[in-house]
């Protein structure tokens, strides 16, 4: 949106909540990240362009872009960037902010991340079977047909547990995560530009 141009809330927030984020200001727009990205072709904006948009204050466009959601965390961009910008971590930050502001892209797989985390928070460990079935049933019901065969095979080879195996001291983990959530939400209240 033109009216948001030059207003740098998101840029400032991204810099603040990404370790080493200050380097963002020195982006040369050289495109090493965009050229390196394995899923670059499927992104509506390359990481380079996303940084340009961020710096142009196009906050809504940035948050609704599918780019962060197609990041596979391969870190090629980060290690090759001539300005040493932690691009992969920036993608995490942007996803986080997008979720928090409920502004994320329709292709975003928040569902996947959330079901994953849901299992972790329930059992302390991830649970592929539950994850695959639940996520796919809710998001891609038709894919299950193809996946079912695979699931069966994996079962046969003992590579998929039908039941989760929880950790012993769940209360401890729950307490830790709750406290972390508390601190973070508190922090963000302060980060938020007024």
């Amino acid at each position: 949106m033109a009216d948001s141009i030059g207003n740098h809330d998101l840029l400032q927030r991204a810099i603040a909540s990404t370790p080493g984020g200050q380097a963002l200001m020195e982006c040369l727009q050289c495109g090493t990240c965009g050229g390196s990205c394995p899923s670059g072709q499927d992104m509506d904006a390359t990481p380079r362009k996303l940084i340009a948009m961020l710096r142009a204050g196009m906050d809504d466009e940035v948050l609704s872009s599918n780019t962060p959601w197609y990041c596979v965390s391969c870190y090629y961009c980060a290690v090759r960037c001539p300005q040493q910008i932690p691009i992969t971590d920036l993608m995490y930050t942007l996803k986080h902010i997008a979720i928090e502001r409920g502004q994320y892209n329709k292709e975003a797989h928040v569902g996947f991340s959330e079901s994953f985390i849901d299992y972790v928070e329930r059992y302390g460990r991830s649970f592929e079977f539950g994850l695959a079935t639940r996520y796919n049933l809710t998001h891609h019901p038709f894919r299950m047909v193809g996946k079912a065969g695979l699931g069966f095979q994996m079962m046969q080879k003992g590579r998929l547990n039908a039941t989760p195996d929880p950790i012993k001291d769940m209360p401890q983990l729950t307490a830790i995560l709750a406290e972390a959530r508390r601190i973070e939400s508190h922090e963000e209240a302060q980060d938020e530009p007024v």
């Binding site: 909540s17 370790p19 394995p38 499927d42 959601w69 197609y70 596979v72 965390s73 391969c74 870190y75 090629y76 980060a78 290690v79 932690p86 992969t88 995490y92 930050t93 996803k95 986080h96 979720i99 292709e107 797989h109 996947f112 991340s113 959330e114 994953f116 985390i117 972790v120 302390g124 460990r125 991830s126 649970f127 592929e128 079977f129 994850l131 996520y135 796919n136 894919r143 193809g146 695979l150 095979q153 994996m154 080879k157 590579r159 998929l160 547990n161 195996d165 950790i167 001291d169 401890q172 983990l173 307490a175 830790i176 995560l177 406290e179 972390a180 959530r181 601190i183 973070e184 922090e187």
Partner: protein, 316 residues
Amino acid sequence: MSQSRQYAYYPGCSMRATAHAYDRTARRVSEMLDLSLQEIEDWNCCGATEYMSISALQAYSLVARNLSLAATQNATDLVSPCSACYLNLRKTNDNMKKYPDLNDQVNQALAAGGISYTPGALRVRHLLDVIVEDVGFDAVAALVKQPLKGMKVAPYYGCLIVRPSVDGYDTEYPTHLDKLMQTLGAGVVDFPLKTHCCGGHMTQISEETAFELIRRILHNAADYGADAIVTLCPMCQLNLDAYQPQVNAMFGTRFNIPILFFTQLMGLAFGLTFDEAEIGSEIIPALAALGKIGQESPEQVAPKRRDKKALPMPIP
């Protein structure tokens, strides 16, 4: 015989299911190498690549619990065979050290669970690094009973064992797995995509994206005439192995390349039986490829001399 080396061991969730072959062979091989792996008591998930995007601090705290538990065991090194777990453990350890504020917040969270962690108290390492650095190629060679001569493997590292940055190894063209495979007697192809991405979690989110990445790797391995791809990460193995049929379906290709864990091949070379080496747990059967072991393959013959008029190559 020297006192066996002690390590705190973090298997990670996949090792209990999709990659149990890796877990079991890792333990067997370590034992043969006189490495004692003590599994962390009641460890929890590392958050994979998902947690970071939902909540950074929770993600760090989740991992920090494992570090805290591991620190109570009498070992200075924490070993994980899973690249994703390895990265998360390492990243948390490093960033807590690097950013004092983060350290305070994470420890504040841990305190709620009655525990704490001093960043740097542990050295986080990948199993492959331990085998290469602490055991060494000579000690490995000494244990080889059945050289893998005749079989050609493509060493596939994936992303997270060398990136964002691991001191000592090239972030894009590492060679320690190559050397390890050579030590086992296997033929090794100089695999250009050795550190490219296997698609990670995209298999769950966008098959179009993920399967293309998988196809590239299989295609390149086939181009280079590899009989098998050897991996060191459960996620890489799962994607390349389990989705291979679907990739073939999507692109009309006929790839049939078994994907094995390096510990499985070490086991075989050290004389384990197929069962002990968990051969058979893979979706794409490895028997054909393993059948080549012992046969004389053309690649074992010295490469032909450079043409006289050819220009000199740079010193590698």
